[in-house]
Every structure is written in C-alpha cells, then in structure tokens.
Amino acid sequence: VDRVVIAGVGIHPFGRFPVGYRQMGAIAARQALEDAGIELADVDVTLLANVNAEMGKASNTVGLLGRPGVPLIAVENACASSGSALFLGSSLIQSGAASVVLCVGVEKQPKGFIAASGYDAWQLQTGIGLNPIYFALGAQRLLETTEATMEDLADVSVKNHRQARHNPNAMYRQEVTREEVLESRPVCPPLTLLMLCAPNEGAAAAVLMDSERAHRLGVGPPVYVRSVGLASLAADDFFLPNVSFRPDRLTSLTSRAAGLAYEDAGIGPADLDLVECQDTDSASELIAYSELGLCDAGKEAALLRSGDTAAGGRIPVNMSGGLLSKGEPLGASALGQVHELVQQLRGRADSRQVEGAAVGIGHVMGAGGSCAVTVLSR
C-alpha cells in the first residue's frame, strides 16, 4: 500500500514540432530525472510508451541520455500506452523487482483521422474502420437517451479550452465560444471540428520510485500511485474495433477499469478532488462522468451545467485543458495527465491550481480497446 511514489515528472509540450520523437522523449525523460533528483544510472528499468515509431524505439530514445545498460522495454497499447507503462512500472516496484522505473511516453502523430488503428483490413478498406464513427455514435446516443444537448457538447469544449489558457504545454490556448464550437465544420455529426481532439506530437515522463527510497532521498512533496486499473475490450463494449455488440447487455470499458482502480486504491469517486479524462471528443468527456462514477448515468449534462466539473467547482475535470486543448500524442497522453495531476497534488499548478487537491485520477482509452485509470494521491 502506498509503495509507489512519483518522484519526478517531465513534459515536452504537446503540439507540432520540427524535432524527432527521440529528442522529444529524451527532453521529457531528462526533466523527470532532474525533477526526481536522480540520474539515468539510478534507474532500474525504463518503459517507453509509443505507438508509431520504429523497432528499437526505447533504446533509440533513452539512449540519447546515456547507456547505463539497464532493461529498456517498449510498451504499445494505443492511446492507453503510457497508462499501461504506469501499470507495469507500478507493478515492478510493488513486486520488488525494481526500485526506480522511468516511464516515458512520446508520439509524433500526423494530423487528421488516425490511420489503421486496430481494425481488420475489410473494416479499413470499406470505410467503417474509423475511430470518429464510434465517437459520433456515442455522442448521438448520449443526445438521444439523456437530457444532454448540442449546447452541452459545445460547452465541454468551451470549458476545456478556457482551462487550457494557463497551460503552457497545451497546443490550443485560445478560448472558444459555444457558437464557434457549434459552427465549426461538421466532421462526423453530431460532432464538429472543435468538439474533437487533434492527434499531435509531444512527450511526458515520470520517475516511479519505491517509497522507502523516495523518503530516504527526501523526494517531496511525495505523490503516490495508489492504483492503476487496466482493462481491455469485452465482447459487448461499444468501442472500436467491435463491429457488433448485444444492446441489452452493453458493458463499459471505462467502468471496468475505474472499478479496478477504485477497489485497488480503496477509494471511491466521492473521494476525488480532480479528474483528467479522455476527452477525445466532447461527448466522451460527458460519458466518462457517469462511467467514472462522478454522476449517475443520464445526469452527465446536469453535472456539467452545475459547474462542478469546471475550474473552481467541486471536482474539476481536465484542468490541463484536456486532449481537446492539448491535442493527443497517443503514447504520451496518460503521462501528460500524470504530469498535470502531480503539479496539482504538489500544489504547484499556479493559476490552474485546484485548492486543496489531494486525490486525482487520470483516464485514457485507446484503439484495440484498452483503458487505464490511474489513481494518484499526495
């Protein structure tokens, strides 16, 4: 219990850059090592989360910082890649197999629809193997079955862009209005361009450390990994790349991962002070409200309208600006959330600070159907 400490975090801003993924990853990793006050030689195992880069990516990235010869492993689980690296890194420390694990997430993802993300060839070739189809259908279902409206979908984007104003690592830091969101190009109705996140580039890193060692080193203020719940696609999840599901027995990938995370951490959603969730699109954030247990199913729009999930509210969601503002470098997204959560739990998030933040979660889900929920506390 409370055995894993996040001793340091680092980030390379999210956006589009003329440098390669290796350099971005190395910059984030170096920052995390410096933040933890250690050197690469102190690391027992390095996990590199990435989707698109070449064979040997872990060595090619971390090798820029030195070659101490310790284990390097690449982890790929689509948009849940760095959540999966956190799962593995925490497990290595809890088991005693390692006392310091460096997790690095990095991506250079081209703009636009993501290609070939976990579908069979026939799905891709016939145009139904495309992630936004699932997001749009989820959004339509939310609009049809709950009181959520198009204005609510717009307001999620407005909220997250407003919160990103003060995040120097976000790609989009301009406020948008409800009208601008509603009138932006319809990409896959009901979702418009400004209701969808942009796949992009960036990196983030965290040093996980055995708590005894962290306390000995005087790492502080300590932030603990309380749990990482990792779930994969079930036959009746309506999530990519499933082509069919049983509507009377629909299940939720996010609910399963959150259930595992809460149980393992011994907490519930009522204990949370802030949330960073997978706002791939505006509706996904609203759906996550109920699936993460922040509200009852059907009450997502009411929770948004109450202001509880905005800055200054009871449980702010995506204070970093979320993926809608930061963009989504697939392999780095969960560690990007961890970077924000650690700043918040240390009380060092400046103008984004959630007062008294003590417990927070990060939530990512990716192609192929993997979902990771990470519970952090101070």
Binding site: I128, P186, P189, R246
Partner: protein, 149 residues
C-alpha cells in the same frame, strides 16, 4: 419482397452467409444475410462469424443473421478516411439492431443524414466493391410511421 440471397465468401473475409439460392453472381443492392456465428455453450451470436465465441471462447458454428433490422444510430463521415481514400464522402454509417436478435451491427448506411431517423426499418444489401472489396450496407425501407418527422 424477394428472399435474401445468402452467398458464401464473396466478401474477402466471409462476411456473408453460405448460399441457399442460385449461384449466380452477386449484384449490388440485392438483399443478403450476414454470416454470423452462434456459440453452442452460451448462445451468444457474433458478427463477423467467430471461430471461437467472443464471450466464452467455445467453438462456435456459422449462422446466417436476419436481413432486416432497425436503425438505432447513425452518423456521416465528411472527410476521406486515410485507409479508404477512394470512399466518396460524405457517406453514412449506422448501427442496426437485427430483427429478433439481441445484436447490433455496425455498417455502411445508404441514404443521407437529413432523411434518416432512429427507428427506421432497414434491410441488409450487398454493397458494390470499395477498393475491390465487396461489403454489406444497410438500406432504409421506408418509415414505420411516415407521418412522423
């Protein structure tokens, strides 16, 4: 209404069920039945057909699925997908609950966004090749309540 053709393997991945009719070539627009599978152990129906049940991993048997169903959701894709660059856009995609089944299937959908409504009855038809791949599509067959808008 003509009986649906049930052909085997005219789609690369065997999406369509085995023939019980004339072996004549398939044509775009004819009614077809998708080739699913049923698990003898838990009764689960999968589409596309699975060798092993996606629920309980028992060996499943192929089964032709109903041709008709009801539209439960839809969207349109307004920009070309990177892996199907020749798809004319916009095109519609829908989720259809097959008649008498606890099963929804995702597929291409004929019609345009303005005219489609949730609850529309649809039938499964053969879709002309996209990049040499035959597939299926759902085609609206008129409103259950045409006065409703």
């Amino acid at each position: 209404m003509t009986a649906p053709l049930i052909l085997d393997g005219f789609v690369g991945d065997g999406l369509v069920a085995r023939t019980d009719g004339p072996e004549a070539g398939i044509a775009a627009g004819v009614r077809i039945r998708l080739r699913g599978s049923r698990c003898p152990r838990c009764g689960r129906v999968d589409f596309p057909a699975a060798d092993l049940c996606t629920g309980c991993s028992a060996t499943a048997s192929p089964e032709a699925l109903p041709c008709d169903g009801e539209l439960t959701g839809f969207t349109s894709i307004n920009f070309p997908p990177p892996d199907a660059a020749t798809m004319p856009t916009p095109y519609c995609v829908g989720v259809v609950r097959l008649q008498g089944q606890d099963l929804c299937v995702l597929g291409l959908l004929e019609g345009d966004l303005e005219s489609l409504r949730i609850g529309d009855p649809v039938e499964t038809v053969a879709r002309e090749p996209i990049a040499d791949v035959w597939t299926y599509a759902f085609r609206p067959i008129g409103r259950a309540r045409p006065d409703e808008t």
